[in-house]
């Protein structure tokens, strides 16, 4: 069981959270100019690394806020939680 630290509520069990996937994916600023391939990359492609991963979590059964977590996808070890507005371009 992962012990995840919500920046507002502190450490809680994994079951209180829901997972939001890779962090830092920004909606294209100028959607009209995108090619189909660029849209496909934005919508569907993910970096899916083996190792350190920045990801989104939601404290669904607590304060219901989103935040970022740095976690290793092999050891599952959590490095830190962070506030999304504190890491521009790294949502």
């Amino acid at each position: 069981m992962l012990l995840i630290e919500c920046p507002w509520c502190g450490e809680r069990a994994e079951t209180e959270f829901s997972y939001g996937g890779e962090a830092g994916i920004e909606r294209p600023a100028e959607p009209d100019t995108l090619t189909d391939a660029e849209w496909a990359d934005y919508l569907f492609c993910r970096s899916n690394p083996r190792g350190p991963h920045k990801e989104l979590w939601n404290h669904a059964q607590g304060c219901r806020r989103w935040f970022g977590v740095e976690r290793d996808t092999v050891t599952y070890r959590i490095e830190r939680s962070y506030l999304l507005h504190e890491s521009q371009g790294d949502m």
């Binding site: 069990a13 079951t15 890779e22 391939a37 492609c45 993910r46 899916n48 083996r50 991963h53 092999v74």
Partner: protein, 416 residues
């Protein structure tokens, strides 16, 4: 290859089973191959086998970083069926069932394919509508499928809880009688042995660490056993698809997740078919050794650790006990995890790539074991001809750009 036979069994018994030949050679890598298959799971081995058998390509190697069948092939719960919703998907899986039906004979290896039927249970009116729609879709393309009601289920599976007061009452199910289970290890070993007999080099403990591309065309791989040249490369590495594709600079619409499975202590025969429920989310069958074989859903987060978390274990057990209260005191013997490669539309990628000579077979997620022979069949065709077979043409990487997704999420109840 020494053929296995009843007589051979007897002869080897008389010599105390000391003289069995090895099932496949441990080959040393050559300098160059016409085709390299990266990944020695069932899909990779089946691809190599059909390349040699159907397309006459025998200068082929399978490179496996661990041991044959040590990935998802040897970790899965072995459910085989073809009752998917969309025509593209059901025809692909149906091709596979047709190959399963003759596979033990074809490979001269008993893969213990057992067509004991699969029930996909419905617990609500909407479940039953979806089941009827899927059964009709299956019958329209010639796949055996029927809708059964709760009384029929109870008659076939006496221990299942069909009480109307259950928290998730059972209203009915789809039943595919030709579906069933097979022995996963035997599938890997059988394909390895048969491919080897046709000249394919099976090279274990050989991790691919780089893909060499020159002028937009593959020329070979870097590996833990040195550089190996190749005209064509098929990447069939399941949960590691993104990692290996990145070696050629490709980004994939795939995320890797842990998926767990469990077996119980062995019991006397108690369940002679396969039961799956998407709503309570669990599935169960009984192996020939008597163990209950149990599985459920993925862990939500990305993971490569070949293990999952306790909440998922608890959830799985809740689902099984909801369906079968009789199993509440059965003890679990073992549990493990595999890493599954999940696509946004829950369908595989069997495709050429923007790089000449590089082919991808991945994205099977939680449900690729059933497709092992069919996947190898169409992927070998794709590699040999540089063109997809008509059955896998819809499963291109391109579909994510064109938008022609094949949305099997939810459509086929649990995705195994």
């Amino acid at each position: 290859m020494k053929r296995y036979s009843a007589l051979g069994l007897l002869r080897n018994a008389l010599s105390h089973n000391r003289n069995w030949p090895e099932a496949w050679r441990s080959a040393e890598p050559k300098k160059h191959y016409d085709a390299i298959i990266v990944g020695g799971g069932g899909h990779g081995l089946a691809t190599a086998y059909y390349l040699a058998k159907v397309h006459g390509m025998r200068n082929v190697a399978v490179l496996e970083k661990g041991w044959i069948g040590g990935g998802n092939t040897g970790r899965n719960t072995t459910i085989v069926r073809s009752n998917y919703l969309w025509t593209e998907a059901s025809l692909l899986y149906e091709k596979s069932i047709q190959l399963w039906e003759g596979l033990s004979q074809d490979l001269n290896y008993n893969v213990m394919f057992s067509q004991r039927g699969v029930y996909n249970i419905g617990h609500s009116l909407q479940d039953m509508r979806d089941i009827e729609r899927r059964v009709n879709a299956n019958r329209l393309v010639g796949i055996d499928a029927e809708v059964v009601d709760a009384a029929q289920i109870k008659k076939a599976i006496p221990h299942i809880n069909t009480s109307a007061t259950a928290r998730y009452p059972i209203l009915g199910a789809s039943l595919q009688r030709r579906a069933g289970v097979a022995r996963h290890d035997a599938v890997a070993w059988g394909f390895a042995r048969a491919a080897d007999a046709l000249g394919v080099d099976i090279i274990e403990q050989c991790e691919v660490t780089g893909i060499d591309v020159e002028g937009g065309k593959v020329v070979g791989v870097q590996s833990s056993r040195g550089r190996i040249g190749a005209d064509k490369i098929g990447v069939v590495v399941a949960g590691n698809a993104s990692v290996v594709a990145a070696m050629a600079g490709l980004r994939l619409p795939i995320e890797s997740h842990p998926l767990q499975a469990f077996v119980s202590e062995p019991l006397k025969p108690v369940l002679d078919t396969v039961v799956m429920s998407g709503a309570v989310h669990g599935y169960i069958s009984q192996s020939d050794k008597g163990e209950l074989v149990i599985g459920a859903g993925i862990d939500a987060y990305n993971g490569y650790g070949q293990r999952g978390s306790f909440p998922t274990i608890e959830h799985t057990m809740q689902a099984i006990i909801e369906l079968f209260p009789i199993f509440s005191r059965v003890r679990m013997l073992r549990l493990w995890g595999g890493i599954v490669d999940v696509c946004p539309d829950a369908c595989p990628i069997l495709s050429k790539t923007p790089i000449d000579g590089l082919f991808l077979n991945c994205g099977w997620g939680t449900g690729g074991f059933k497709a092992t022979p069919g996947s190898g069949w169409v992927f070998a065709h794709t590699i040999a001809n540089d063109e997809p077979h008509e059955l896998n043409a819809p499963f291109s990487l391109e579909r994510f750009t064109s938008g022609a997704l094949i949305d099997e999420h939810g459509a086929a109840a649990v995705a195994h």
